[in-house]
C-alpha cells in the first residue's frame, strides 16, 4: 500500500487526507498543534452563509475517523520534506511515496502596527479574537458593558509595505462585513463603521452580503485607513482617518476597534524552501508549479501543495485544493 504524508491538519490537509484514504492510500497527518482542525477551530461562523464553523469541521473530521489507514501525529513539526521522506523536528524520519504540504498561513501580529495600539489599549482586538468572543457568546468591553460604537479596520498587515506585506489577504474584506453584521445583530443600537481601502468581494454571495450590510443593517463604510489610535478621557478610543470620498480628515471616538489581521506566510516557509529546494514567492508564500495548470504541484516532483500555503485562500478554496492535491498525488503515483 502506498503511503502519503500530509503536513498540516487544517481544512486543506484533512480534505486531502480523506480523499487519499478513499483511494486506498495510507496517510499520515503531521500536525504542529495538539489536535488537528487548524484555524477553523477558532472561527465562529463562515461567510457568506453564516454556516457555523464547527459544522464544517465536524463533517470533515467525520470523514477521517472511520479509517484504519490513517495515522495522526500531533505536536510535531516537519523540518525537511522530500517525496520519499519527511524529517520531524524530533529527528525522526518517516518514509513515504509522496508528500503534501498544507501548513497554511500565520495570522499577522497586530502589535507590529504600533499606531493601532493593539496590546496597549484594552478594547483594540483582532478579528480572530472577535471570532473567539462570538464562540464564547461573550462580546463585551474590557471594562464591562456593551460597545455603542465599533470600528472595523481592514488591511491590517495586508497591502502594507511598511510591514513587508505587499499582498492582499483576500478574505479580510468579507470577514469584516460578516463580523459587522454579526455585531450589529448582537448590538442593534450600536453604530458599526468599516474602514476599508477597497472592498474586494471576490466570492459568490459576497457582494450581496456587502449590500445587505449597507442597506439592511445600516453599517457604515468609510473609505480610508485609520492612521492612529489613542485613548480618550472617557475611556474610548479616538481614531483618525481620511474620509477619502469627501477628501476630509475624520475622527471619532469608538468603544471597540476590530483589526482585520491579514494572512502572513509562515516564517517556516523560508527554511523549508531552502532545505527542500522549493520555490518561494516574494510574498513568502510557496510558489506553485504553474498558476493555471499546476496550482497544487510544487517545483519538486512528488511534493504537492494544498490550501493557503501558496496564497491567502478562503475555506472553500482550501478544501477544494485538498481534493485537487489528492488527485495530483494519485496521478503521480500511477505514473511511477
Amino acid at each position: 500500500m502506498k503511503h502519503v504524508i500530509v503536513i498540516g491538519g487544517g481544512v486543506a490537509g484533512m480534505q486531502c487526507a480523506s480523499e487519499l484514504l478513499r483511494q486506498n492510500i495510507a496517510v499520515t497527518i503531521v500536525e504542529k498543534q495538539q489536535c488537528i482542525g487548524g484555524k477553523i477551530r477558532n472561527w465562529h461562523k463562515l461567510f457568506p452563509s453564516f454556516t457555523p464553523a464547527d459544522e464544517v469541521l465536524a463533517a470533515m473530521q467525520q470523514k477521517l475517523t472511520t479509517h484504519n489507514n490513517l495515522t495522526i501525529r500531533t505536536g510535531c513539526e516537519a523540518t525537511c520534506i522530500t517525496p520519499q521522506k519527511v524529517t520531524l523536528s524530533s529527528g525522526e524520519e518517516l518514509r513515504c511515496d509522496a508528500t503534501v504540504i498544507a501548513t497554511g498561513f500565520t495570522l499577522f501580529d497586530a502589535t507590529v502596527k504600533e499606531e493601532y495600539g493593539y496590546g496597549i489599549y484594552d478594547n483594540v482586538i483582532t478579528s480572530a479574537e472577535l471570532e473567539q468572543m462570538f464562540n464564547e457568546k461573550n462580546v463585551h468591553l474590557k471594562q464591562g458593558g456593551e460597545p455603542k460604537r465599533i470600528a472595523i479596520l481592514h488591511c491590517v498587515g495586508s497591502r502594507d509595505e511598511k510591514v513587508c506585506q505587499r499582498h492582499c489577504s483576500k478574505v479580510c474584506c468579507v470577514t469584516g462585513v460578516k463580523q459587522a453584521i454579526e455585531l450589529k445583530k448582537m448590538f442593534p443600537t450600536a453604530d458599526v463603521f468599516n474602514f476599508y481601502m477597497d472592498m474586494r468581494m471576490f466570492g459568490p454571495g459576497y457582494e450581496e452580503m456587502y449590500r445587505e450590510a449597507q442597506t439592511s443593517h445600516n453599517i457604515h463604510f468609510v473609505r480610508g485607513r485609520i492612521s492612529e489610535v489613542s485613548p480618550t478621557f472617557n475611556n474610548r478610543l479616538q481614531i483618525k482617518a481620511e474620509d477619502t470620498l469627501t477628501g476630509r480628515p475624520l475622527k471619532m471616538g469608538v468603544d471597540m476597534l476590530v483589526l482585520l489581521v491579514g494572512m502572513k506566510a509562515n516564517a517556516h516557509n523560508t527554511t523549508l524552501a531552502k532545505d527542500c529546494n522549493l520555490t518561494l514567492q516574494p510574498s513568502g508564500f510557496m510558489q506553485p508549479k504553474d498558476s493555471f495548470l499546476g496550482n497544487v504541484a510544487s517545483n519538486v516532483e512528488g511534493v504537492f501543495y494544498a490550501g493557503a500555503i501558496t496564497a491567502p485562500k478562503n475555506i472553500g478554496e482550501s478544501i477544494n485544493e485538498g481534493t485537487a492535491a489528492a488527485r495530483g498525488v494519485v496521478e503521480w503515483l500511477e505514473k511511477r
Binding site: 502589535t111 504600533e114 499606531e115 496590546g119 496597549i120 492612529e228 489613542s230 485613548p231 480618550t232 478621557f233 479616538q238
Partner: protein, 363 residues
C-alpha cells in the same frame, strides 16, 4: 499605559565622553537648561562633556524653511563633526531635536549616497581646510539623561510627586517630530510610543498622561511659524493638543524639543489673549518644562538657577506641589543680584502679582 513596545527600540547611547552641540532655540529661550545639562552630566554624574565654543548653529531652521540648501547644511554639519574629532571626541550629543534629526538624516544620506559624503568632504576642505570623522555615537541630550535616569533617581532630592496629596504628578510628555518620526529606530521607544521622556518620568515617580493628541505635532512647522500670516497653522496645532490634554488636568508638560517647549509655553499666552482660554487647573496656564529642568528639579537645583523665570507660564504652582523651596523675591534678579524688572501681567500668569506661596499643610 501598557507600554511594552519601547523595548523593541533600543538605541546605543554612549556612557561617557560627550561632545556637546547647543541648540539655537534652547540657548535663547531656556539658557538655564543647557547650563544645567552640562552641570548634571559633568558634576552630578561625573561624566566628561565638552562644550565647544567653536561650533555653530546646524542651520536646521534655515534648512527646514527652504533658505539653506542641502549642500550648505551638509558642510556645516561636517564642520561640527570635524570640530568634534579635533577636540578628541567620538560621541556627539546635540541639544536640539531638529539638529538631532538633521545629523541622523545626513549620516543616513551619506550611508546611502557615498558620493554625497565625498562631495561634502570636498566642500568642507575647500571652505575651512578641515577634514571630518563621523561620530561613533550620536545621541540627543535627552537620550543621555534617559541613559543615566536611574543614577539620577538614586541621587534624587525630590520626586515627581504632589507633596500635598502624595500622588504621582500627572505629566504630559511631548517628544518633537524630528526625534523619531523621521527615523523611528533612532529614538528610544520608536515613534508611536516613545519612551525617552516617559522613562525619566516613570523613574522619578511621576505618571504619564496618554491623551488623544499625544502624537500630534506642536505646530512649530518652521516656515509656517516664520511667516506671520501662516502662524494660524502653528497655533492651531498647539491649541488642538492643549484642548485634548486639558481634561486630564496635567500638572506640567515636559518637552523633548526646544521648539516644542517654546511653542507649547508661549502659545498658551497667545491663545489666552486671543480667546480667553487657559488650560491649567488654577485658571492659569500649564507649566511647560524642558527635561533638563525636570531633571534639575529632581536633583535639587534652585528653579531660578535652572532659568525657570524665563517661562511664559509661571512654574510656582508646580514648585509648590513638588515641595521645592525657593525664594519668590529672587525670581527676577539677575546674576549680579540686580532686579531685572518683571513681565507684564497676562492671563496665563495669574500668580505673578501677588504670589501666595503655600508652604504649610504639606505632607
Amino acid at each position: 499605559m501598557k507600554r511594552s513596545s519601547w523595548t523593541d527600540y533600543q538605541k546605543e547611547i554612549a556612557d561617557d565622553n560627550y561632545y556637546y552641540a547647543r541648540s539655537c532655540i534652547r540657548q535663547n529661550f531656556f539658557p538655564g537648561s543647557e547650563k544645567v545639562f552640562l552641570d548634571i552630566v559633568g558634576r552630578d554624574l561625573g561624566r566628561n562633556i565638552f562644550d565647544d565654543p567653536k561650533h555653530t548653529s546646524c542651520t536646521g531652521i534655515g534648512y527646514h524653511s527652504d533658505v539653506v540648501p542641502l549642500e550648505t547644511i551638509m558642510t556645516v554639519v561636517a564642520r561640527q563633526f570635524a570640530l568634534m574629532s579635533e577636540a578628541g571626541y567620538e560621541n556627539f550629543t546635540s541639544s536640539c531635536i531638529t539638529s538631532f534629526g538633521i545629523y541622523t538624516e545626513l549620516l543616513a544620506t551619506w550611508e546611502e549616497f557615498p558620493e554625497m559624503e565625498e562631495r561634502t568632504r570636498e566642500y568642507l576642505y575647500k571652505a575651512t581646510g578641515r577634514e571630518f570623522t563621523k561620530p561613533k555615537n550620536l545621541a540627543h541630550t535627552s537620550d543621555v539623561i534617559f541613559h543615566h535616569r536611574e543614577e539620577i533617581a538614586r541621587k534624587a532630592k525630590r520626586k515627581l510627586i504632589n507633596t500635598y496629596t502624595g500622588e504621582p504628578l500627572k505629566v504630559v510628555e511631548h517628544i518633537g517630530c524630528h526625534y523619531a518620526k523621521i527615523f523611528p529606530k533612532k529614538g528610544v521607544g520608536g515613534s508611536e510610543f516613545p519612551y525617552v521622556l516617559a522613562g525619566m518620568v516613570e523613574s522619578w515617580g511621576g505618571e504619564i498622561v496618554d491623551y488623544p493628541e499625544r502624537r500630534h505635532c506642536c505646530g512649530f512647522g518652521f516656515r509656517n511659524y516664520l511667516v506671520q500670516a501662516n502662524r494660524g497653522y502653528s497655533i492651531t496645532n498647539s491649541h488642538k493638543k492643549l484642548e485634548s490634554m486639558a481634561p486630564y488636568k496635567p500638572d506640567f508638560i515636559v518637552c523633548n524639543c526646544p521648539g516644542c517647549s517654546m511653542f507649547l509655553d508661549k502659545w498658551q499666552y497667545t491663545i489666552a489673549e486671543m480667546e480667553g482660554t487657559t488650560y491649567g487647573q488654577n485658571g492659569a496656564g500649564i507649566p511647560v518644562l524642558t527635561y533638563e529642568e525636570m531633571a534639575g528639579l529632581v536633583l535639587g537645583y534652585d528653579p531660578w538657577e535652572l532659568g525657570m523665570q524665563m517661562h511664559q507660564v509661571d512654574v510656582e504652582p508646580l514648585l509648590d506641589k513638588m515641595g521645592v523651596e525657593y525664594d519668590p523675591t529672587a525670581k527676577y534678579l539677575g546674576k549680579n543680584g540686580r532686579f531685572l524688572g518683571r513681565p507684564q501681567k497676562a492671563l496665563v500668569n495669574s500668580c505673578i502679582e501677588e504670589a501666595i506661596y503655600k508652604t504649610s499643610n504639606r505632607r
